[in-house]
Structure formats: structure tokens, C-alpha cells
């Protein structure tokens, strides 16, 4: 069962309440998310992405994860 952009945004918002989040993609399986969050300051990119994946609470894990691909771009506010 694919995920909507809104569901993805809500999950990320839950973990990063003050972040700017933009989720795009239409098929619900290959989606993209752009997240600007204070929590990322001073953290390397792999860790930043891992934090977002953790926010998705297993929706991406394993071959039966609803989300097959999430193109992520993350950074701390300038």
C-alpha cells in the first residue's frame, strides 16, 4: 500500500516539529523529501538521512516496505 506525500510529511513533522518539509512524488512508492531542520546542524549527511528514515518508523524497511525509494535532501537552516 503506497504512502501519500501528506502521510510522509506528517511522520517527518512528528519527529521534526520546527522543520521546513517539502514532499513530492505522485506514485506513493518513489517519493522525494526536502527537509530543513535545526536538528541537522553539525550532523553529517548520512546521519541526517538516517534520522529522517527513523522518523518514517519502518515504512521503508525490507522488501515489503510501503515506500520503495525516498530521494532525500536534508540540511540545517542557513
Amino acid at each position: 500500500m503506497a504512502m501519500t506525500a501528506h502521510e510522509i510529511e506528517a511522520l517527518i513533522k512528528e519527529a521534526f516539529p520546527t522543520a521546513q518539509i517539502a514532499v513530492s512524488g505522485s506514485d506513493g512508492v518513489h517519493m522525494a523529501a526536502h527537509v530543513i531542520a535545526e536538528e541537522f546542524r553539525g550532523i553529517n549527511r548520512v546521519k541526517q538521512h538516517q534520522m529522517v528514515y527513523a522518523a518514517l518508523k519502518g515504512k521503508m524497511d525490507g522488501s515489503n516496505g510501503e515506500l520503495h525509494a525516498l530521494a532525500l535532501t536534508t540540511k540545517a537552516p542557513d
Binding site: R45, V46, H49, Q50, M60, S63, A69, L72
Partner: protein, 122 residues
């Protein structure tokens, strides 16, 4: 939940300078994201060990637990997880991949890397 493939994965990433866990093989990638990373490495003349996760479900799940990263492909340089398709693409364009490979003493074709960046001056 023990990870049956963990020992094999650990040995592979330590025994090879560069390892790409991917879907398919370097010459026959089976997924767009794996194909992009393999393509960059091939074009930059980086020697790497390709592991087809489609051939072994234990490795396919085990690698995700090993690196705490839910997707394939996954690139390792000198035993360290570097990133998936997004991060490797960003690093290639920004030149960070060149720096990383140089720092780790991994040979690559710098001209080819520059060509990739020129081609991506969108």
C-alpha cells in the same frame, strides 16, 4: 534478532577497498538507483567489489541492519559506509567523492569526475 549475514558483510567490507551492495551487477544493474552509482564508479574507473543483494535475501536484509540504512545501493570505502544513491550523487557533483577517494588512497580518474560535473552544470 541476529543478523545471519553480518559476519559475511563485515568480512567483505574489510577485505575490499571499495564495495557496492547493489541490485544486479556492475555490468548488469537491475535498478535505476544501483545503476546510477555503479555507472559513476565505472565511469570514474574506480575498482570495486559489486555484491548483488538480489542473489541473497540474507544479505539484502542484513546489509540494511548492518548500516542502519533501509535502501539499496550502499557504497562502502575502506570499510566505512559512505551513502546511498542520493548522497553519492551529491558527493560526485560537489567533488566530495573525489576528496574522499583521495584521502582513502583509492585510485580514480579525476578527468572523468570533472566530465561528470561539467555534464551536470544544469
Amino acid at each position: 534478532m541476529t543478523n545471519p549475514a553480518e559476519a559475511e558483510i563485515k568480512e567483505t567490507v574489510q577485505a575490499n577497498d571499495v564495495v557496492l551492495f547493489m541490485k544486479g551487477t556492475s555490468s548488469m544493474p537491475q535498478c535505476g538507483f544501483s545503476s546510477r552509482v555503479a555507472g559513476v564508479l565505472n565511469y570514474m574507473g574506480v575498482e570495486y567489489k559489486d555484491i548483488d543483494v538480489l542473489a541473497d535475501e540474507n544479505i539484502r536484509q542484513g546489509i540494511k541492519d548492518f548500516s542502519d540504512w533501509p535502501t539499496i545501493p550502499q557504497l562502502y570505502v575502506k570499510g566505512e559506509f559512505v551513502g546511498g544513491c542520493d548522497i553519492i550523487t551529491e558527493m560526485t557533483i560537489s567533488g566530495e567523492l573525489d576528496t574522499l577517494l583521495t584521502d582513502k588512497g583509492v585510485a580514480f580518474d579525476a578527468d572523468a569526475a570533472n566530465k561528470i560535473r561539467e555534464a551536470n552544470q544544469g
